[in-house]
Amino acid sequence: MTRYIIRRILGFIPVLIAIALFTFVLMRAIPGGPFDFAGDKSLPPQVVANIEAKYHLDWPMWKQFLSYMIGDDLLGEEGISRGVLRGDLGPSLRYRSQSVNDIIATTFPTSAQLGFLSLLLALMIGLPAGIIAALNQNTWLDYSSTFGAVLFLSIPNLVLAPILIWIFALKLGWLPVASWGAKPPYVLGFLPRLSQLNWDYVSHALMPVFALGTSSAAGIARLTRASLLQVIREDYIRTARAKGLRERVVVVVHALKNSLIPVVTVLGPAFAGLVTGTFVVEQIFGINGMGKHFVQSVGNRDYQVITGVTLVYGVILVIANLLVDITYAWLDPRIRYD
């Protein structure tokens, strides 16, 4: 197992380098640069040339990429970055007082909280809904849960978020409209510390987390139902019942664990959906997270921020996929990785 994990992690390296290269080259191929405008005015060409020289944008592409990966000092040049391989994602071209590392350090915790809480919500709603539906097949419980799942699958978060705001913030006035994470209580970088949890935090988080998590919850509910229905007809479930086990033990110990395998499969893509879903949700709720920053940077042509944030997304995705594969082996001992 350890060898498998190491091999997988080694396999990620070319993927991540390819992502970096793709982003790097594509961004620089786009007409228009980060220094076309200062505020509303355009800069004189000489000034632009000087700033570009400072950030090495006048170098040939291969050299720029090399310096981005391993750092300028190793190339014997004046340094703006120590290189991605040494953990330095370079300076931001737009917010010149900040490095990309600074930007990610301030925005990532908020986005991670949002994504993590949404995944938690998705599991907390999706799993029970799917299980209840499967155990009460073809009753009103089943029908309403299945219908609710399709309904929430069909409402994208860019529709759900404004509707939630309209109902709960504007019509009813129960929840604040925006600005979650303005004063984040952090522990371990992103989880709220329990002693700091108060209604203020919860009320701000409620709508963004709900808007982001419901479609994943719906997907999980549908899959759990289908999978559990299949497992419950297996012979070993009949055997377990025949042994006289209590129904709860049969369902929880024998059926549920086996039915979770397909559910875990979608958790990888679901997680990716949550990560990218933050683009919209952060925009609408005015949350200062990584997704909002990424979309802004694309408009600003802030090459370094775009490449850096894309790499962070890449790392998150490959780690999520790896965790999914490891969970398989735990759920199904027949799956062996060597």
Binding site: I19, Q137, L158, Q230, F294, G299
Partner: protein, 334 residues
């Protein structure tokens, strides 16, 4: 003693029906998916004849009528709406912040969303089926290599890549100086309101899942007797793939593609929402929502109209996909 009469002959011999006829009959029995299909067909007709049905042009502005609201929509607006809202009788669903008719824009927006659903799914179905079928049929080293590439691409964060591609295409569209084929392509893209590159970006990304399904299907069929028989009578590889394998594997692929359509519609709406979709003033539901969100407090109707249509459309595609799946593969139904 009377002998019990034998039943008539025709009741004994059941009419032979093809797989597709059976599937169609099962599909028609599913009321929800029939209703969904009818909704989609009506919407498609409305989209096709948008220029006839729409009372105004989608870009036609009357700034003296901006944010106009029809009387029947007043209950949706905040309580004090009567003080600020401009009541209109000319616009059945009101006008947006630039004084454009919302009904007309929603109708033209249906064109964008539906053509997106159709073209993106056709592109990904075509590339995915071709790639997956070749990979699975060839087997061995070629299969290994082709699937390695798919695994490799699978690790890319999709939406991020689409955003980057779309940024690139949009910037290309703004920069002039392209000549020859590139310029023609750009002009065509402009004529389509920026949709061409959107198709390319999404289609190029989404074939990967389809390729995996197609390969899995081919692997499960290519050792079957009927393929062996075709080999034995000397059929060529391309004939076996097209005449014998494709008809068998196409069902699950169509189902997967139908269920993927809501995803395409979401992606288009999402890209338009962050300003990377179709070019204004071409209307799309995503753009309409994103333009109306800042005024959500005063004019929620401008968000709700495209939002509800978008959700109904994806709901219809989801139900239709479910119905199609149950019809084509009754074993899946539980």
């Amino acid at each position: 003693m009377a002998v019990a009469e034998l039943p008539q002959e025709q009741t004994l011999v059941r009419k032979q029906r093809s797989l597709w006829e059976e599937a169609f009959i099962r599909l028609v029995r599913n009321k929800v998916s029939v209703a969904s299909s009818i909704f989609i067909i009506l919407l498609a007709l409305a989209a096709i004849f948008a220029n006839v049905l729409a009372p105004y042009d989608y870009a036609e502005q009357d700034l003296t009528q901006n944010n106009a609201v029809p009387r029947w929509m007043l209950p949706i607006l905040p309580g004090n709406a009567a003080n600020y809202a401009r009541i209109t009788t000319d616009y059945p669903l009101g006008a947006d912040h630039l004084g454009r008719d919302i009904l007309s824009r929603v109708l033209y927006g249906a064109r964008v969303s539906l053509s997106f659903a159709v073209v993106a799914s056709l592109i990904s179905l075509l590339i995915g089926t071709l790639y997956g079928t070749i990979s699975g049929y060839a087997g061995g080293r070629i299969d290994d290599l082709m699937m390695r590439i798919v695994d490799f691409l699978y690790a890319f964060p999709f939406l991020v890549v689409v955003i980057l591609l779309q940024t690139y295409f949009k910037a290309l569209g703004r920069a002039s100086g392209m000549i020859g084929f590139g310029a023609k392509l750009l002009a065509f893209n402009d004529a389509m309101g920026g949709m061409l590159f959107l198709f390319v970006a999404i289609g190029l990304i989404n074939w990967i899942g389809m390729a995996r399904i197609a390969r899995g299907q081919v692997l499960s069929y290519k050792r079957k007797e009927f393929v062996e028989a075709a080999h034995a009578v000397g059929a060529s590889n391309s004939r076996i793939i097209i005449r014998h394998l494709l008809p068998n594997i196409i069902g699950p692929l169509i189902v997967a593609e139908t269920l993927a359509i809501p995803g395409y519609i979401f992606t288009e709406a999402f890209l338009s929402f962050i300003g990377l979709g179709v070019n204004p003033p071409t209307p799309s539901w995503g753009i309409m929502i994103s333009e109306a969100v800042p005024a959500l407090r005063s004019y929620p109707n401008q968000v709700l109209v495209p939002a509800i249509l978008l959700s109904l459309t994806t709901l219809a595609f989801n139900f239709m996909g479910d119905g199609l799946r149950d019809a084509l593969d009754p074993r899946m139904k539980q």
